[in-house]
Amino acid sequence: MSDIIKRGKLHTDDWTIVRQAEGEDIASLELPAGRVIVPLPLWLARRDSLLAKAEAGVVGVWLAGDEDPATLADDLLRLQLIAIDFPKFADGRGYSIATLLRTRYGYADELRAIGDVLRDQFFYLSRCGFDALQPKEGKYTRVQLEAALASLNDFSEPYQAAVDRAEPLFRRRPREAA
């Protein structure tokens, strides 16, 4: 069980993130009991046996920064959870992958940021369509995470369009000429 932020609220979560250890064979890797988020290569290799579990909401898939979200295009209506991994918080590829999943491919269910997920990136992450934010186990205490919710609202009226606000400020609000 870990504490995460889900749709702007603190939430106790029971998904297990499965990471492939070096030399491990994804075909035979035994999945832990309970709800699991599996890496994309594992999903692709064992898709037939996992599809029903995905539809039942007990299997989700996570993408690495160099993986193309288009690979999942056919599965987006079946998957209830997709996660994107941030190997380092300063690796910003996940922001574009999330934007593409939401705006290009129309994915509407849970989109979770995993890996090196820090509160000072919460605002940008949520703007790009992440509705679940999972900092590394032990990174924040529950109290710190509670306090970090404020970061989601660092800026009240951002200029540009993104996933959370589909229109830029100049279309959302009347801005006065001088």
Binding site: G65, F89, A90, D91, G92, R93, Y95, S96, I97, T99, R104, L118, D120, Q121, F123, Y124, L125, R127, C128, Q144, D154, F155, S156, E157, P158, Y159, Q160, A161, A162, A166, E167, P168, L169, F170, R171, R173, R175, E176, A177, A178
Partner: protein, 559 residues
């Protein structure tokens, strides 16, 4: 210049609050060094050799008198009484305390300024021609477009953690004074055959370790689509730019690796999805932004002021200054004035708190309250009545802002170098001041004529040495400081990268090296030929031969 509305102000205020919280979490140990680094960098805060360096954004170089006064106040109260104009038109403080930075940002916000995205791997300050809006050769004013790009790029959630820094410049004049070909994206404002405004888009230019001149990715993007197009470029870069090696992470490396055709194809493939989307600009938005530039109505003036003509005839020093530091204005009876920050014995681009105040007073009294910073590290008063030039000169001269050297050898562009910067391999300021001391004679300086000397303390190239007619690069050789010299670089429409003339030099040799280069030029030049044109005509060999031959003679003389 652009006046904030409530939304602009709120965003800047919210940034101050955010950074205050981040700084206090860092000071309390809750944020680690590594976690805080990109946050402070995206607020222009470097940890430098002696103290943090704070880089304040001056969007496309536009400043108001109240802002100049605030910059002077900050220099006095939080620094050592001076600041530095950078080669990207920003203002840098070298000695603020980290704990004071939130307070400084609060003061900046009170005059519609900030330090947002002046560093870090994000979209940086947009730059433009310091003579925008007043230049005679301008066909489209770039400033409203710069402001639109500024707003779009400010806290863009998708592009805050790019592989590397990202710089955009906009040009709307015949002569490109924004060096758009040395930017990650260079936007050239043009009209198509039907008279419609759009942008020629250049991508992948940049100096630094691997200097590359940008290439055309689109010959015409209609203005309505420009943010969509930039988004496509940035997305391709964000997803595919290299992240394994910081030295190969700029977009220029991606463009080179893919080839410009393939890169353009990928951008186009992304752009088709974004075209006509919500970020498409409207006529109303352009007009709104343009209207917030409260440009002064210039009262009609006679084309020629008799008093001005009389001063020119009777005062040689004034006439020399007018010849070098005053530029034609598109409006009859007006001129643009360059206030030189290149005074003998002072680091290029340094400006004292008192000079900020004088510049503010001059702006209020003679230039409708406005000033500009230039990438050549000077200040500009964009619109001055010709009849007022004499008074402006007298007051500027008293404040040390009237060296009549704009475009001449002593108008050196230099980064802060090893005296301040933790990245530098070598010092640049003492080289600049030694060269300025060597060429102290004003008549000789004017005889040499127009020449650009650029000095960088390391290959990050903040002094833009690649595009200097003479470029000087500080290098580290076994722990000591050496200087590599290039000639033949150029900015603007004929942008070119200089060629290295040979083995590097010790600091003490540099004035002699410059003398050898200048003597080669004066011996070979045709009438009215500039240094760079002579280099182009005769090639670098005669320069190189003489520099190293005279170096040998000096060595022998010493033995």
């Amino acid at each position: 210049m652009y006046q904030y509305d409530e939304y602009d102000q709120r965003i800047v205020d919210e940034r101050v609050a955010q950074f205050r919280d981040q700084t206090s979490r860092y000071l309390s140990g809750e944020l680690s060094e590594d976690e805080f680094r990109p946050l402070r960098l995206q607020n222009g805060l470097y940890i430098q050799r002696y103290a943090p360096m704070l880089r304040v954004a001056v969007p496309y170089g536009n400043l108001r008198s109240d802002q100049l006064r605030m910059l002077g106040h900050i220099a006095r109260k939080y620094d050592r009484g001076y600041a530095h104009v950078s080669t990207r038109q920003n203002i840098q403080y070298n000695w603020p305390k980290l704990e004071d930075v939130p307070e400084i940002l609060g003061l900046l916000s009170s005059v519609q300024m900030h330090a947002i995205q002046t560093s870090g791997n994000c979209i940086r300050n947009v730059t433009a021609d310091p003579f925008a809006g007043v230049a005679g050769d301008e066909h489209i004013d770039p400033r409203p477009w710069c402001e639109i790009v500024r707003q779009w790029s400010t806290f863009h959630p998708e592009f805050a953690f790019l592989p590397r820094k990202f710089k955009i410049a906009v040009n709307g004049a015949e002569h490109d004074r924004a060096i758009i070909r040395a930017h990650d994206i260079g936007l050239d404002l043009i009209r198509d055959a039907g008279g419609n405004i759009g942008f020629r888009v250049l991508v992948g230019g940049g100096l630094g370790r691997t200097p590359i001149i940008g290439e055309e990715v689109s010959s015409f993007v209609p203005w309505q689509q420009i943010l969509n197009y930039c988004e496509a470029v940035l997305r391709v870069y964000n997803l595919h730019g290299r992240r394994d090696n910081a030295y190969k992470a700029r977009i220029k490396i991606l463009v080179k690796a893919l080839g410009v055709e393939e890169f353009a194809r990928q951008v186009e493939a992304e752009f088709v999805h974004l075209k006509d989307g919500p970020s498409t600009l409207t006529q109303a938005e352009i007009e709104r932004v343009a209207s917030r530039f409260d440009d002064p109505e210039l009262p009609p003036e006679p084309a020629h002021s008799e008093a001005h003509a009389a001063h020119l005839a009777s005062n040689k020093a004034f006439a020399t200054w007018v010849g070098r530091n005053v530029r034609a204005h598109k409006t009859e009876g007006y001129a643009s004035v360059v206030l030189s920050l290149k005074t003998h014995g002072v680091a290029p681009g340094d400006i004292t708190a008192e000079q900020f105040d004088t510049a503010a007073d001059l702006a209020d009294r003679y230039a409708f309250g406005e000033a500009r910073s230039t990438h050549e590290q000077n200040l500009v008063l964009a619109s001055v009545r010709q009849a007022d030039l004499y008074e402006v000169w007298q007051q500027a001269r008293a404040a040390g802002l009237a060296s009549p050297n704009i475009g001449l050898l002593t108008d050196i562009i230099a980064c802060p170098g090893g005296d301040f910067c933790a990245l530098a391999n070598a010092k640049s300021i003492p080289i600049a001041t030694a060269i300025q001391a060597r060429f102290d004679d004003l008549d000789y300086l004017h005889d040499i004529g127009e020449i650009e000397v650029n000095i960088s303390g390391c290959m990050n190239a903040c002094g833009h040495h690649h595009v200097g007619h003479i470029g000087v690069l500080g290098v580290d050789k076994n722990g000591s400081e050496w200087y590599q010299v290039t000639i033949g670089g150029d900015q603007g429409n004929q942008a070119a990268l200089g060629k290295v003339i040979g083995p590097s030099f010790a600091a003490a040799e540099m004035p002699d090296v410059i003398s050898s280069l200048i003597n080669t030029y004066t011996d070979n030049r045709h009438p009215d030929e500039r240094f760079i044109d002579t280099v182009r005509r005769i090639g670098i060999e005669p320069f190189k031969t003489r520099v190293y031959a005279e170096r040998e003679q000096r060595k022998e003389a010493h033995v």
